[in-house]
């Protein structure tokens, strides 16, 4: 119903620009009637509105996001303890140290492992859970709220609580001992062998709810008619899930995977709180971000910390761009380039 007027007005305005062409640069009458200002030509009033409406956001964003990130690049070239302006320019030295430090290599490896395991563990679990909770049943809304609780509980709270539960004499081992199946349990959950797996369990617990929210939002957008048609054709429940739900949920899954990968690369709070800043690499899992925070502001090596931040940023950016280029291309093509208004 809304297609016809749009097509005619687009046709009219394109005709208008080709035939009348360079002559009049005033707003063409058909476009004005349709209420669509011509492309890339903003009137003075419009420019004022654009400035007024988007100005504050841009100023704050540039001042507190863009400028600091640029500054991080600048400080990364200095040996600098944070007092006074940086003066000891050392070029790429910080970067050379970072890229040859085995501790940083381990941190990067941890980030990669966390990203991969998050996808493998959380993805299937979240899809199953979202399908399960998307059914009509009594008490569904309560179950839904409860599943999201860990996502709402802050990292500090979760980290503090868990770091009190996980020690050798903590609640988890006591609970396992009380089951009388494994004998007296004294597992070092926070120790060097299990550190990564404990972290994965914590992350799954903490962020599964978010994945489920996102996937359920995606499920709502799948038209009911498809399932009705499929069930008339005699498709089983699992056939419908495999042939209708999963393909149509694809864009949502790919967006979640993107957020999950980026989140894994930038992970800071939970390792920092659960393992405690100084035991990170010895006992648990250091990440690029905890490495940065430890060797940056905490140790007073501001220049070095900033260089680490730059490396972290560049790695995230490369991963994000590659992902958008190869995985998200179908999903976002057109959302920015063709103006989005269809």
């Amino acid at each position: 119903m809304s297609e016809t007027p749009q097509v005619t007005s687009a046709l009219a305005s394109s005709l208008d620009t080709t035939t009348v062409g360079g002559g009049a640069d005033a707003v063409s009458p058909p476009a004005a009637v349709a209420g669509r200002p011509p492309r890339a030509r903003a009137s003075r009033r419009e420019r004022l509105e654009i400035t007024l409406l988007s100005g504050p956001a841009i100023v704050v964003f540039v001042a507190f996001v863009i400028l600091p990130v640029i500054a991080a690049f600048y400080y990364g070239f200095y040996r600098w303890k944070g007092y006074g302006p940086p003066s000891d320019f050392i070029g790429l030295h910080n970067y050379r140290v970072i890229l040859t430090d085995p501790e940083f290599h381990r941190a990067v490896l941890h980030n990669v492992e966390i990203a991969g395991l998050s996808l493998l563990i959380q993805g299937p679990l979240a899809i199953l859970l979202a399908l399960l909770l998307n059914r009509e049943m009594r008490g569904r809304s309560i179950i839904r709220v409860l599943v999201f609780v860990p996502w709402v509980v802050s990292e500090v709270i979760a980290g503090t609580g868990l770091s009190l539960m996980l020690p050798v004499n903590g609640a988890i081992n006591a609970l396992l001992t009380n089951l009388h199946v494994f004998g007296h349990v004294e597992v070092q959950w926070l120790g060097p062998h299990l550190g990564l797996w404990t972290l994965m369990a914590i992350l799954t617990w903490k962020y599964l709810g978010f994945a489920v929210i996102l996937l359920m939002a995606g499920l709502q957008n799948i038209p009911e008619e498809l399932y009705e048609a499929a069930s008339i054709d005699g498709a089983s429940y699992w056939q419908m899930q495999r042939n209708i739900t999963l393909p149509l949920l694809g864009p949502t899954i790919r967006i979640w995977a993107f957020l999950s990968i980026i989140g894994a690369l930038q992970l800071f709070d939970l390792p920092w709180i659960v393992w405690g800043e100084f035991n990170l690499d010895r006992d648990g899992v250091s990440t690029m971000a905890t490495y940065m925070a430890h060797y940056g502001p905490r140790t007073g090596l501001y220049g070095y910390g900033n260089a680490v931040a730059v490396v972290l940023f560049v790695i995230s950016l490369i991963v994000a761009l590659l992902y958008q280029r190869f995985v998200l291309r179908r999903d976002i093509s057109g959302s920015v380039t063709d103006g989005g208004r269809r």
Partner: protein, 297 residues
């Protein structure tokens, strides 16, 4: 005409229509299994939270002797001590101020910038959207040291404003990315009709766009508030005076100060998670509904 345009708007109207359908497909698999799985998941989900809340009702000897058991007897002293301490309430108030002001600013700036990106056509529009979208990839970790230096020059360290402004800046990308599809989904016909009735672009913004995008605005508002209530890294580096601490810093400080008094730490911790939980539970539907507009298949 009017019904078809309203249907096209995102938000609860669509989902209500879908769930209000009388005919439903039959569930092929028995409910008990579903409930069983749901119960297991919820049990695993809530166990750590329950440990924190119940732990506050114990004393420390109970925690050492039987760390996994229920409190026996129940003690209320830990909770009443926290609730009568001025430190807790000061930190609580700081968190409320930071969360409230951050949310207000993020929503106000986010909606108006999203409106420009969604409905104005001008050169640099793609760049603007790209700039904010790129902001998603800038973790606050990368910017934390220079941010601290900028805030220091502005004399904003140790002030709540020094936490609020960066939080607003880092909150804008998510907000804008969620809101732009919402504002784009408002049919052109409504804008045209408003223009025919003599409504300016700005009048259209205030009278039509704000009400129509309310689901998205609420979603981003709630997400911003919860994120601010929980934020840790930024306050950790910006605030050093205990009088300006927010609750997450308060928990950490309480934890290190009373390291041996685990039960008290658990009481403090569980009291400080209540507001975010209440806030989220009250608006859970809104969050799911709001994300629908953002994650269009």
């Amino acid at each position: 005409m009017t019904t078809s345009t309203l249907d096209a708007a995102p938000g609860p109207s669509r989902s209500r229509r879908a769930s209000g359908r009388p005919q439903r497909r039959k569930l092929p698999w028995g409910s008990p299994a579903v409930y069983f799985i749901a119960l297991v998941v919820i049990g695993l989900t809530l166990a750590p939270v329950a440990y924190i809340v119940l732990g506050g009702f114990r004393d420390n000897s109970q925690l050492t002797v039987d760390p996994a058991g229920l409190p026996s007897p129940w003690r209320f002293a830990n909770y009443s001590n926290v609730l009568s301490s001025s430190t807790f309430w000061r930190e609580f108030a700081n968190s409320v101020i930071v969360g409230g002001v951050t949310t207000l600013l993020v929503v106000a700036m986010g909606v108006s910038a999203s409106f420009v990106i969604a409905r104005y056509r001008f050169r640099g529009r793609g760049l603007m959207f790209g700039l904010f979208a790129a902001g998603l990839m800038f973790p606050i970790t990368v910017a934390i040291t220079p941010l601290f230096i900028i805030l220091d020059k502005l004399n904003l360290t140790d002030s709540l404003l020094g936490v609020i402004l960066p939080q607003v800046a880092f909150g804008l990308p998510t907000t804008i990315i969620i809101l732009v599809p919402f504002l784009q989904a408002i049919p052109d016909e409504i804008e045209e009709a408003a223009a025919v009735d003599g409504c300016s672009r700005l009048g259209f913004f205030f009278r039509m766009v704000l009400p129509l995008s309310l689901p998205g605005v609420l979603t981003t508002g709630i997400l911003t508030f919860v994120a601010s209530w929980n934020s840790y890294l930024l306050p950790l580096f910006v605030l050093s005076k205990t009088s300006s601490f927010t609750l997450p810093l308060g928990i950490q400080q309480f934890h290190s100060q009373y390291a041996s008094d685990t039960a008290a730490v658990l009481a403090f911790t569980s009291l400080s998670m209540i507001p975010a939980l209440v806030f989220f539970t009250a608006f859970e539907r809104r969050i799911v509904g709001g994300l629908q507009g953002a994650v269009k298949g």
